[in-house]
Subunit: 296 residues, 2 copies
């Protein structure tokens, strides 16, 4: 069995893993994301130790962003602009690659999670497909023609413009850039700010969920008409509230109103908009998946 290293550099925690796949996890280490120096040192130390024991075929990095993914750029693999103190303009990929002398691949945490679901999860090798994480922030990754979505930069679909009725929802949104974009309206912090309660503890009957399902459904409709994905996977903390799935599925069908004549939408919406399979390990297993895809 080939083994790979994976790092998920998240906004609050960092997870390192040695694995061949989701059922072949050899070692794991979790620690808080602090300064870049301290955090990278911990990660590099972990992999140096593991390299003494295992033959590793490559390393995948799934990181919070925005990250420079242009291979021709002088700052390829750098975190670019982030409000996270100390992390702007940090050389992530080349630094790790040089320190460990291992072939390294980097992508956004959501593209990594998408690759994990593509290889081992609920996307099952289908593309185009997209993965949304709806939690502290909202992010999107995905594959098109079997390759991860890269372009001018990478998807940032948490910042999609949606329709808000100020009478039904006077909350103006919390996004520092856009106010009431998708993330500003429907992320975990938006739910907490609007209702004074956490999305984790709010009862299923709370009116918050109808509004939440409406915003997520709007975003799914826009994703469907722009990208025509064959599958949409929804993960992240907010989506742990499973009662949201049928609410979102019904709203999407209702909003599309028969326009997209596809059996997957008209008759099998419950197989079209689905939860993530890899769950809480999506990020780090996704990083392993990046390495598998790149170096297998």
């Amino acid at each position: 069995m080939k083994l790979y290293g994976g790092i998920e550099t998240g906004g609050t925690k960092c997870v390192c893993m040695i694995a061949g796949g989701p059922d072949e996890v050899i070692a794991e280490s979790r620690f808080s994301t602090t300064t870049p120096e301290e955090t990278l040192l911990k990660a590099i130390t972990f992999f140096r130790e593991q390299k003494k024991i295992h033959n590793l075929s490559g390393l995948g990095i799934g990181t919070f962003g925005p990250v420079d993914l242009d291979p021709d750029s002088a700052t390829f693999g750098y975190i670019t602009t982030t409000p996270k103190p100390g992390w702007a303009n940090v050389n992530l990929a080349k630094r790790i690659e040089n320190e460990l002398q291992m072939p390294t691949v980097i992508d956004t945490d959501v593209n990594a999670a998408a690759m994990g679901e593509y290889l081992w999860g609920n996307a099952g090798g289908i593309s185009p497909f997209v993965y949304f994480t709806i939690g502290t922030g909202i992010g999107m990754g995905g594959l098109f023609n079997g390759s991860l979505m890269h372009g001018l930069i990478h998807p940032e679909a948490g910042h999609m413009i949606l329709k808000r009725d100020p009478i039904t929802d006077p909350y103006a949104g919390f996004c520092a850039y856009h106010g009431d974009c998708f993330e500003g309206l429907a992320s975990g912090p938006a739910i907490r700010a609007r209702w004074g309660q956490s999305s984790h503890t709010m009862p299923d009957q709370h009116p918050a969920w109808k509004l939440e399902a409406n915003y997520i459904a709007q975003a799914m409709v826009n994703t469907i008409v722009l990208l025509s994905p064959r599958k949409i996977i929804l993960g992240g903390g907010v989506m742990q509230r499973e009662h949201l799935f049928p609410m979102i599925q019904r709203e999407v069908v209702s909003m599309l109103n028969g326009y997209v004549k596809s059996p997957q939408i008209l008759n099998q919406i419950e197989d079209f908009i689905v939860p993530a399979k890899l769950g809480g390990r999506a990020g780090v297993l996704g990083s392993i998946a990046l390495a598998v895809q790149a170096f297998n």
Copy 2:
């Protein structure tokens, strides 16, 4: 020089062409789109005559939709559901291929136009890129990793959900399916219904344009955050009003508000959102381009 056939089957007119590219047009025929029988007979007759004179390497069809583009489907190449009388469930691709005994490729008119701009126009071989036509309807086509965008069906981005302020714009939109979606708010018929004037004759100073630029800019922002295209081309009848381009470009930069840190957006937006080069011949030259891409 290799020669190809191209057919643009539009909602009101049909254009047939023999060409090797935009500067090598050998023959052209235009006629009204009437019944499928009459229209297809005219097209087939044109190509039969041309085949006697020229050696044709293949035929491209760019059609109004929705169209079944799933190669595994029993109704591949059929127009599926269209409000256009007589055209629902019409076998387009296989019928033409069988009658003419020529290799045939079919796609949406907007994907065809996108391929034309990709090979010969303002996309210049860049992908991902998208092409929007904003006219009688609003459609989108595009390429990702060098291939046309296909998925569950194909993009139908005219039906994107946008934000409308009912105080600034009380017009509820004309889309039969969605009311105030992008097409319902910003297509030519929407402009005419809202203001009682045609977009072709309305003066540059008319307040209609500020609203129009706002809706188009919203759609561009959503396209940017979902797809991260390297280029956006805007064509169609409404976009013949060239004063719209700087208005849209400014609005996009303002709405993104510095979030997408790309020089193409921050400093070169006039090279990022651009007009179509092939103009009025985009559809039929796009159909030629489909054939070039498939059979060269």
